[in-house]
Amino acid sequence: MKKTVFLGALTVAGLAAGASAAATLDDVKARGKLNCGVTTGLVGFAAPDANGHWDGFDVGVCRAVAAAVLGDAEAVEFVPTTGKTRFTALASGEIDVLARNTTWTLSRDVDLKFTFVGVNYYDGQGFMVPKGLGVSSAKELDGATVCIQTGTTTELNLADFFRANNMSYEPVPIETNAEAQQQYLAGACDVYTTDASGLAATRASFEAPADHILLPEIISKEPLGPLVRHGDNEWGDIVRWSLNALISAEELGVTSANIGEMAAAAGDNPEINRILGTEGNLGEMLGLDAGWAKAAIMAGGNYGELFEKNIGENTPIGLSRGLNAQWKDGGLIYSPPFR
């Protein structure tokens, strides 16, 4: 007895000594898999298909990072998180990266201690109502019952919006998009509110999408992007530049179709050469191999390809590029230079 307790205390002391965390990059490499936090299912952004293979715009970011770090876009463990569980999952180290329609806000950055590495979708909060409700503006929603996902910026914006407009409402807090959809369709709430992109994606999965409209008001700014924990800047850099690689690739015309040819030998555009590793040592600076960006882009295509394939105008979700066009085309999507 005495001995076992003593041994126990020893192990405990040993554990305490070994508790200082290793770098995330080493962890991921040792594990051979990237743990990526995504939604519990929002078609277009992150949802498993019939074979359990995850697909979507946010999933694309996860796969690009996995490809850059591990050289394999499939080496991702997707961890479904709700609005409520996502931050705990990231802070506790259960996931390495969170890519879940998450809004970049000051308090999440400063108080919750997360580093947003960029924005992959500029969004805003909207309202969806059934056409039959006869409502054409969010200002007419006084007294309505509103479905919201808890643990989101949505519920805070909503409270502000109704207070500022001197209206009352009845919030119905819900944990996942699927439950919200069920309650909304059964008429247990009049309105569903969340990021406009999420509304479009949700509506696209309805049997009769045309019976529902999005109200014209967009009541907030919701820059959505991937985030990592504070405290490991090297890892933050890797995720940030993987995303930037996808964005720059679109800007420079590097697509999944021509990348093989472009990466075979250095071409006449020095920036493309640097991205694709045929010139300079950017990969080495990040602690990755020279082909990191090539692998990231080949994982699912460049930013524009990801957009068109998952949520673009030719998909059921049918989002136009709008704010999310490249800066050269009048949008906000802009990558710092690869130099």
Partner: protein
């Protein structure tokens, strides 16, 4: 000779701590305690260290900052500019509400089912057995979610009540509306009410006390007391003379008349729910989340209570029933006067733990979006402020206090009904 001499006082040696059975168990306990404390100490210091490394020193300052979110069911006034502390208080009251309602309903259903399960009627006792096994053997979370799904999918939305030829209509003379958002029932109102007193000013713990409610309650309590006195006098007369005077109409009158009078003075009337805009307005609104949670918790816990009641009754020896029968008591009186009072002694201790279970299970509320304290303090507040450790510690403390209070009260009650051994 040797038996008469005092044992020679042995000098104490260190090895005796291990080899002497008088000391050994003590040694083991102390070592285990030290080990346990070390472990706890390590856990605490490690957590604190890790939090500081993360840049999140434990602090409770966030509780006084504005919560920023709205809560649908609130027993006290609240808006999104109130503090996290007040949001937690609102949640706590919601927890207590569903726990109290649940304990009452579970006890009533449990006792009835437990007694009926012993019925000689084969169908009744089988049906009760099916109920008990059905509820006991399925996780309560599933019952909660199932109950909610039934409410949402089977009842009509408020808009079905609208129009010339509505698909759905209100019940009981247009006074009750059952919708898939919840039930609207008439609410008591006073046209000449005394108003409210506001206590604790503007603080996070402020609350209003309704003077009307206090007046009605006080009068009602006083009447009950007086009615009790009348009953006691009747008992005394019966004991002295063997004849019991008929007093039930006195007692009824004393209970009913003053209360009715006060209600009339205050101008009591019922406010009916009415469809206005998106929802019904007026009346008392019981949200479907509350109903689903309440029903599931009560029915689930009642299944356990029924078994406890059945065991308690079976624990009273058959001789008691036979003796009561021999005295000419009818079965119903035998049950209420002879069996149940004795069975209570067996029933109450496990009943306490079922009340505790019900209260703790109410923390599953968020599954249906019921804003209990787990939903406010341990849910949205935790999430918006990122203070996992602090909020969870507070949450655990709150549940601990609730549970200890329940068991304290129930233990006290148990003392009072326990067999007085003379």
């Amino acid at each position: 000779m040797t038996t008469t001499t005092d044992p020679h006082p042995e000098s104490f040696r260190l090895s005796m701590l291990i080899y002497d059975s008088r000391y050994r168990s003590m040694t083991i306990q102390i070592v285990a305690l030290i080990g346990f404390l070390l472990l706890i100490g390590w856990l605490i210091s490690n957590t604190a260290q890790n939090l500081i490394t993360l840049g999140k020193e434990p602090s409770f300052g966030f509780m006084t900052e504005p919560a920023g979110y709205d809560i649908n069911q609130r027993l006290l006034d609240y808006n999104s500019q109130d503090s996290h502390l007040r949001a937690a208080l609102i949640g706590l009251l919601n927890t207590l509400l569903v726990a109290v309602m649940g304990c009452i309903a579970a006890t009533i259903i449990g006792v009835v089912v437990g007694v009926l399960r012993l019925s000689n009627n084969w169908i009744v006792s089988r049906l009760m057995a099916v109920y008990v096994e059905g509820f006991r053997n399925v996780p309560v979370l599933l019952w909660i979610v199932f109950g909610m799904a039934i409410l949402i999918e089977t009842l009509p939305p408020p808009k079905a009540f609208r129009g010339e030829n509505p698909e759905a209509s209100m019940l009981l003379g247009d006074s009750v509306a059952l919708t898939n958002r919840g039930f609207y029932v008439p609410e008591p109102l006073f046209s000449r009410g005394l108003g409210d007193v506001h206590l604790l000013g503007n603080s996070s713990l402020r609350f209003d006390v309704s003077l009307d409610l206090i007046a009605v309650g006080a009068v009602f309590l006083a009447s009950i007391l007086i009615s009790g006195l009348i009953g006691r006098r009747a008992n005394a007369i019966q004991n002295a003379t063997g004849d019991r005077p008929t007093v039930w109409f006195w007692r009824l009158g004393v209970v009913v008349l003053p209360t009715v009078l006060v209600l009339w003075i205050l101008g009591f009337y019922l406010g009916y729910p009415e469809l206005k805009g998106f929802n019904f307005k007026g009346g008392t609104y019981m949200r479907n989340s509350l109903i689903a949670l309440w029903a599931a918790l009560s029915l689930y816990t009642a299944a356990f209570i029924a078994e406890i009641v059945r065991a308690g009754i079976l624990a009273v020896s058959k001789g008691q029933t036979e003796a009561a029968n021999a005295l000419g008591l009818r079965p119903r009186r035998t049950m209420s006067l002879v069996i149940l009072p004795q069975a209570l002694r067996v029933i109450i201790p496990p009943l306490i733990s079922n009340y505790l279970n019900l209260t703790k299970n109410s923390s599953l509320a968020i599954a249906v979006g019921y804003m209990d304290i787990t939903g406010t303090l341990g849910g949205i507040t935790l999430n918006q402020t990122g203070r996992e450790l602090e909020t969870l510690l507070m949450l655990m403390l709150v549940y601990l206090i609730i549970s200890l209070t329940i068991s304290g009260v129930m233990n006290w009650y148990n003392e009072s009904v326990k067999l007085k051994e003379r």
